[in-house]
C-alpha cells in the first residue's frame, strides 16, 4: 500500500503523548441526540480534522473540547484533566471571526496578553509579532470593519496564537471565504503550524481541505452524530491536490460522506 492510510490509529503513533482524550462523550438536547458515544484520542501537536456534513455534531464536539458546552454523558479530557469551561490554554478560531469590532487589529491580538496582565509594551510587541506572522504587518491600527474576510480571519488566528495556547480549535475557520483566499489561508495555516506546534482540531465540511491539512481525519456520521471512520494520513507535505493518492483518498471519503448526507434525507 502506498503513501497513506491505516484505518485505525496506527500502532507506530502509540509512543506519542495523548493530548485530548474523548471518552464516551455524548450530547443530548432534550430528546435529540446530537452526539452519541464518541471515543477519540488526539496526540500532542497533531493536526486533526473533524469532517462531516452539517448536523453530524462536529461543532458540538469542538465546543465540548473548548469548554463552551458540557457533555451530557462521558468525558472530555485535556492533559488528563476534565474540561470544566473555556480556558486560555485552548484557543478558538470561529467561522464568523468573532473579532472585537471596537478594537484595532493589534488590540484584538493583544487581548489575551492584556488579560494576563502583561505590561502594555510587551502586549504590543507580542501582538505585532503575530500579526506579522499572519502577513498583516502594516495593518495594526485598522479596525475589523476595514478588513476583508480573509484578513479578519488572519487577525483571529493571530489573536488565538498570541495567547500561546497548547490546543488550537478551529470551527470551519475558512468556511465563509472565497475559494482562492481559502486555499491561501490553508497553506499559511500549515506554515504557521510547522512553526508554532500546537494540537490543532479543525472542523470542516470540505474533504479536500481536510486531506490538504490533516494528520488525521475523523469522518463523522449523522443522526445521531458519531465517529464513522478515522483516517491517519502520512502523505508528505506540501500536498498536491492533483496527486493520485490525494484524489483516491478524496473519492473514498466522498463516498462515506455522501452516505451520511443521504441519511439526512435532503439532497
Amino acid at each position: 500500500m502506498d503513501a497513506m492510510l491505516a484505518e485505525a490509529p496506527a500502532a507506530a503513533t502509540d509512543s506519542r503523548r495523548v493530548k485530548i482524550s474523548i471518552r464516551g462523550a455524548e450530547k443530548r438536547f432534550g430528546d435529540m441526540v446530537a452526539l452519541k458515544g464518541v471515543d477519540l484520542d488526539l496526540y500532542e501537536n497533531s493536526f486533526t480534522c473533524l469532517l462531516g456534513p452539517s448536523g453530524c455534531g462536529k461543532s458540538t464536539l469542538l465546543n465540548m473540547i473548548a469548554g463552551f458546552t458540557q457533555p451530557s454523558a462521558g468525558q472530555v479530557l485535556v492533559d488528563g484533566r476534565a474540561v470544566q469551561g473555556p480556558s486560555a490554554d485552548r484557543g478558538v478560531v470561529f467561522q464568523e471571526y468573532a473579532l472585537f469590532p471596537w478594537r484595532t487589529a493589534i488590540d484584538n491580538v493583544a487581548f489575551g496578553p492584556m488579560l494576563k496582565g502583561m505590561p502594555k509594551a510587551k502586549q504590543r510587541e507580542i501582538a505585532k509579532r503575530y500579526l506579522a506572522m499572519v502577513g498583516l504587518a502594516g495593518h495594526e491600527s485598522k479596525y475589523p470593519g476595514n478588513l476583508s474576510g480573509g484578513m479578519k480571519q488572519r487577525v483571529a488566528i493571530a489573536r488565538a496564537l498570541a495567547n500561546d495556547p497548547s490546543v488550537l480549535l478551529m470551527d470551519e475557520p475558512f468556511g465563509a471565504l472565497d475559494a482562492q483566499t481559502r486555499e491561501t489561508l490553508q497553506e499559511e495555516m500549515l506554515r504557521i503550524w510547522e512553526h508554532e506546534r500546537k494540537t490543532v482540531v479543525f472542523v470542516t465540511h470540505s474533504i479536500s481541505e481536510a486531506i490538504f491539512l490533516a494528520d488525521r481525519i475523523v469522518v463523522m456520521a449523522t443522526r445521531p452524530g458519531a465517529v464513522k471512520q478515522i483516517f491517519d494520513l502520512d502523505l508528505p507535505r506540501p500536498r498536491e491536490r492533483s496527486d493520485a493518492d490525494f484524489v483516491r483518498l478524496e473519492k473514498e471519503i466522498k463516498l462515506l460522506v455522501r452516505a451520511e448526507v443521504q441519511k439526512l434525507g435532503v439532497i
Binding site: P86, A88, V92, F94, P101, W102, R103, L115, N146, A160
Partner: protein
C-alpha cells in the same frame, strides 16, 4: 479637492439653501400679510427680523442669558441624574436575570405614562423650586437611557463572549472588555434620546411652575401678548437643541470611531 469633500460641501450647501428658503417663506408670508393680503392680524406672525430684534433687546437686558442659563442648569442636573441612574440600573438589570424579571414589569408599567402626567405630583412633593423641575427631568430622561442600556447588553453577540472566554477572560473581564464596549453604541443612543427628552419636558415644566427659564419666557410673553418674544423662545430652544445635538454627535463619532470605520 477630494470627491468626499465636494460631496460634503454640496450637502452642506443644500442645507443652507433649505434653511434660507424656510426663512424666506416665513418672511414673505408675514410681510405679505401685513402689507397686502391682510388675511389675519399681523401681530400674530412677526417677521424673522422682528424676532431677531426681540432677541437683541432681550440679550441687552440680560434677560435672555438668565433664562437660557436657568433652563440649561435644570436640564444638565436632571439629565445627569437620569444618565447615571439609567446606565447603572440598566447595566445591573441587563446582566442579572432575576433583577430583570423584577424590574422590567415595573418599568413597562410606568413607561407608557407621559411624564407630564406626574408633573403636578412632583410640584406637590418637591415644591415649586428647582428640585421639582430637576426631579421631573430626571424621571422623564431615565426611561430611554435605561431601556437602551438593557437592550444593548442583551444583544451582545454571544460569539464575542465565547471568543473572550477562550482567551482567558473572567466574568469581570467579560463585563468590562466585551459587554460594556459592545453596549456602548446603544447606551450613547439612549443618552442622546434622553437629552432630547430633557429639553422637551423642561419647557413644559417651566410653563407650569417657574419664574425663570425659556419655557417661562414663552409663557410670560403670552401673558403680555408679545408674539415676537414667544417665537424668540422657540427659536432659541431650537438653536440650543441643534448645537447640543452636533456636539453629542461628534462625541459619539469619536467614541464609536470603529463603527464609522465600518461604514466607510
Amino acid at each position: 479637492m477630494s470627491a468626499e469633500w465636494r460631496k460634503r460641501l454640496s450637502t452642506g450647501g443644500m442645507r443652507c439653501v433649505a434653511i434660507l428658503l424656510f426663512l424666506a417663506i416665513w418672511f414673505v408670508v408675514s410681510m405679505g400679510n401685513a402689507h397686502w393680503w391682510k388675511f389675519f392680524n399681523p401681530v400674530l406672525l412677526p417677521t424673522p427680523i422682528e424676532v431677531v430684534k426681540a432677541g437683541i433687546a432681550a440679550w441687552q437686558s440680560g434677560e435672555l442669558q438668565d433664562n437660557i442659563l436657568a433652563s440649561m442648569a435644570r436640564v444638565l442636573q436632571g439629565f445627569a441624574i437620569a444618565a447615571i441612574a439609567g446606565v447603572v440600573v440598566g447595566l445591573a438589570v441587563g446582566t442579572w436575570r432575576p433583577l430583570e424579571r423584577l424590574v422590567e414589569p415595573m418599568i413597562e408599567l410606568l413607561r407608557p405614562i407621559p411624564p407630564l402626567a406626574f408633573l403636578p405630583m412632583m410640584v406637590l412633593w418637591f415644591g415649586i423650586g428647582e428640585m421639582s423641575k430637576i426631579a421631573f427631568i430626571a424621571y422623564a430622561a431615565f426611561f430611554p437611557v435605561f431601556t437602551t442600556t438593557v437592550e444593548g447588553i442583551k444583544y451582545v453577540d454571544p460569539v464575542l463572549l465565547r471568543a473572550a472566554s477562550s482567551l482567558g477572560a473572567s466574568r469581570a473581564d467579560l463585563f468590562r472588555h466585551v459587554v460594556l464596549p459592545a453596549a456602548t453604541p446603544s447606551i450613547i443612543t439612549g443618552l442622546r434620546l434622553g437629552f432630547g427628552l430633557s429639553f422637551f419636558v423642561i419647557v413644559a415644566a417651566e410653563f407650569i411652575a417657574a419664574d425663570s427659564g425659556l419655557g417661562y419666557m414663552i409663557n410670560d410673553a403670552r401673558t403680555f401678548f408679545m408674539v415676537s418674544q414667544m417665537l424668540l423662545g422657540a427659536v432659541v430652544i431650537g438653536l440650543i437643541g441643534f448645537g447640543v445635538n452636533i456636539l453629542l454627535r461628534s462625541v459619539e463619532g469619536w467614541l464609536l470611531r470603529w463603527r464609522v470605520a465600518t461604514r466607510g
